[in-house]
Symmetry: C3
Subunit: 350 residues, 3 copies
């Protein structure tokens, strides 16, 4: 795919500074770009790199940073870069149609332009919205609903009765609707509690490779609109992840915990069950959340506490060595004083 | 599915208090139940919610808590609720038979009532017990044994020679019998140590989505009878998980570690290799177990230590700030005393 | 498989001590071996066990440790054991050929002796090297390159344009080339940044079950030659894992982080993005790496610091209780001194 810089500027809604007739064939980082590439500057730290870059043109917010260069000026260079990638490196879309090796129940409703890959199976009563792509080896259960313009990468499982929204992306190996982990233990026997609820993945959600979202015991496990979930994340039964939340890789959220809107959890963080994290709560990587936190709190540590407190505790832990030494010299000094005082007493008494 | 309350009471072995002729169509939590639903009270915290619930009937241990309500009285309301879910929300069972797209070796022995889904493959010499269900896209190797009444959800892998018991449930994406992680490193080259052992999953085990259980180097990696394992858990080669143990999501257990009976490990906890955790050991979520612990111990923290010790250390860490301040004022006071003493000395000398 | 001890000695390049005519049918640990088995002693701790073992022969470095026993003497008993496993417990190799249920694009190039299992799909323009095995249910995208003598266990996904080297082993459920986790967030909307780079897995790499390696945003995510990666590990976009590195189960590495050669990360450890870990860095299990470390450093803890420092901090944390008590008695003593001094002063003033 290639385009002129002028045409690209127009499609990105950017202002062209310099000659617009040259061809652009792709996007590259500043240090790897050649004259036929577009690059981008969205962090002032990289101005020097931008100045010395061989890129044919650079996406930038402030043109004064790069005088004399061919520029595409835009208030959001990173977003424009994302759009330029779509234009210059389009991902080939599979042809619509159902691969002959797919096993699709007779009553399945497929929207216009749907593409179903090899070795897919789809159960009875399922509906798939227009232009949705279902990759090779996916297993879609019965009575599932998948919206329009959604992409299921290969080997995704969506079990019975779960619902996936529009414009979602499910990376390979995602499992939607496995049973929640619930047992009634009586006399040392763990009796399975049937998990009869469902999973609802709202519109514009992305779920990373091998992510697991369990079906609710009763009711719904919900991933809110626009949430983005990285690889190998575990979401237990009856969890609610709020709109626009971000869960980085290997996060785990235990049963019935509710995340508000735009919650952010760093990699390998975990949250216990039956908690509430308010809107915009920010959980540091690796943290272990054992209690609820109000909207806007930043928390970290094991167990998780307010970020400032955690930083203080960590700093104090590092200072313990000097604390011990100060205590030791104080003990010595007090011992000296005690002995001296006995001397003074002696003198006073003499 | 619907039934009268009287019939349900009889099937659950519960005592009916109130009118038994009304129809019940499902189970719902106290706050979402309508008159056609059964609900349950198994935690006294929710008595007020039970009193105001619109549920047609409530499973409860002590009828005096809910005077005037229609009740199903039973010593184990939570267990009865699990059974009511089975009765009122039965999971449809696939029809017995082998899907024509499945690839099943000629000598495979399938018990009566077995259901094999689309795109399954089963290797030579494998045996599958009566009424077992093998979901779409599962890959079963050669010489595997799967017991009766077991359910493999879609896309499970069981590699050659491994054994799965009766009444097991394997959620989607489980991998049984991948190679253990073993290398002989000589002069900077990691030579693979062939992993020629197997995995044995005993009866009544449940394994969560995308769980990995590696085959032993030599001998057996074993998941004991009745153990329950949540999603994304890692069980390394030659590990033994004792009967009735519970491993919550994202737990990892390194090679050759042995867990006794009814061990419980919280989410994201890990155990190093070649350890022994005695019967009933309870490992807190997120803990890192680096040494063996005797039966009945509760441990937590990184590195894991006895729970009481860990709580004390954590509390002390939080108290460090006040400790520092106390040390500071003591230093000041000692300084004052020292100066004063010099004054006293001076006076004494005068 | 069985062989005489003399023949086995020759194939392993070991020196036979004792009678070479007996048949050996397999390898067993010292405590489980019978006269028809070979065993091995590679850790002096187990000399007593070796002496009492019933093994027909023992691989050992120093024959003087086991006088009177039939031995295979070799400088690397553990490596020789690995080779003996290959000889005595060979894994049956599938017959070359393409299973009729596989869906292979017309222009795919398959090397001599390639074996493609049931329900595999392979996209256009892909090339697979000689003798490579692609297990049941694997999904290989378009324009992928897989080297020779590589084994893909069942249900591996390799997405478009990624490259896998020679003599690699990918365990079941591995996902290569899912999208990196990248979004441009503007006004509360997370816009997807297309991930147009690839993954390169170099020669002799092993990847464990359900491992995820994301494709780069631009450029390459790279797993260096001879690296070994355990189950459920997450490797984000643009990461570089150096030659011979070892990542134990459930490790997570965030975007653009570079690991040098022979880096070792213990189980459940994590590294933040945009860091550099020098050659031979050793990260303890469960650690959280938030900054770069120079070659040869051993680090541990959350946040990770030099190992010695972490041990000291942990020890200090355990000593806090005694520290508190020392501070308390010092406070009492100073109080006594203060009161006494007031007495002395009174006396001095009198």
């Amino acid at each position: 795919m290639s385009t002129t810089l002028a045409e690209l500027a127009q499609r990105l809604g950017a202002t062209l500074v310099g000659e617009g007739s040259c061809e652009v064939v792709g996007v590259r980082p500043l240090d790897q770009a050649e004259p036929e590439h577009l690059s981008f500057l969205h962090n002032p730290r990289y101005v020097a790199q931008a100045i010395s870059s061989r890129a044919g043109a650079i996406l930038v917010e402030d043109p004064d940073l790069l005088p004399g260069r061919t520029l595409l000026v835009t208030p959001q260079p990173y977003l424009a870069m994302a759009r330029a990638l779509e234009i210059l490196h389009p991902r080939p879309r599979p042809e619509p149609g159902v691969h002959p090796s797919a096993v699709v129940a007779a009553d399945v409703e497929l929207g216009e332009g749907v593409a179903i890959g090899p070795h897919v199976s789809i159960g009875v009563g399922t509906r798939v919205g227009p232009r949705t792509v279902i990759g090779a080896g996916c297993v879609i259960g019965a009575r599932v609903e998948v919206g329009s313009d959604t992409e299921l990468h290969p080997r995704v499982v969506v079990e019975d009765s779960c619902r996936i929204g529009c414009r979602c992306v499910l990376q390979p190996g995602v499992v939607i609707g496995g049973d929640g982990f619930g047992f009634a233990t009586v006399d040392g026997v763990h009796h399975k509690v049937p998990q009869v609820g469902i999973v609802v993945v709202e519109d514009d959600v992305e779920l990373g490779a091998n992510v697991c979202v369990d079906r609710a015991t009763l009711g719904v496990t919900r991933i809110g609109r626009g949430a983005k979930v990285d690889n190998l994340v575990q979401i237990a039964h009856n969890v609610e992840v709020g709109e626009g939340s971000i869960l980085v890789a290997q996060v785990g959220i235990a049963g019935s915990t509710r995340l508000g809107r735009f919650v952010m959890m760093g990699g390998q963080a975990g949250a216990a069950g039956h908690l509430t994290l308010g809107d915009g709560v920010l959980v540091d990587a690796k943290a272990a959340v054992y209690k609820s936190f109000a909207a806007g709190t930043r928390v970290g540590g094991i167990p998780a506490r307010e970020h400032r407190e955690w930083l203080r505790d960590s700093a104090n832990l590092r200072r313990l060595e000097s604390l011990r030494q100060r205590l030791k010299s104080l003990e010595n000094e007090v011992e000296t004083i005690r002995r001296g005082r006995e001397g003074v007493r002696g003198e006073g008494e003499g």
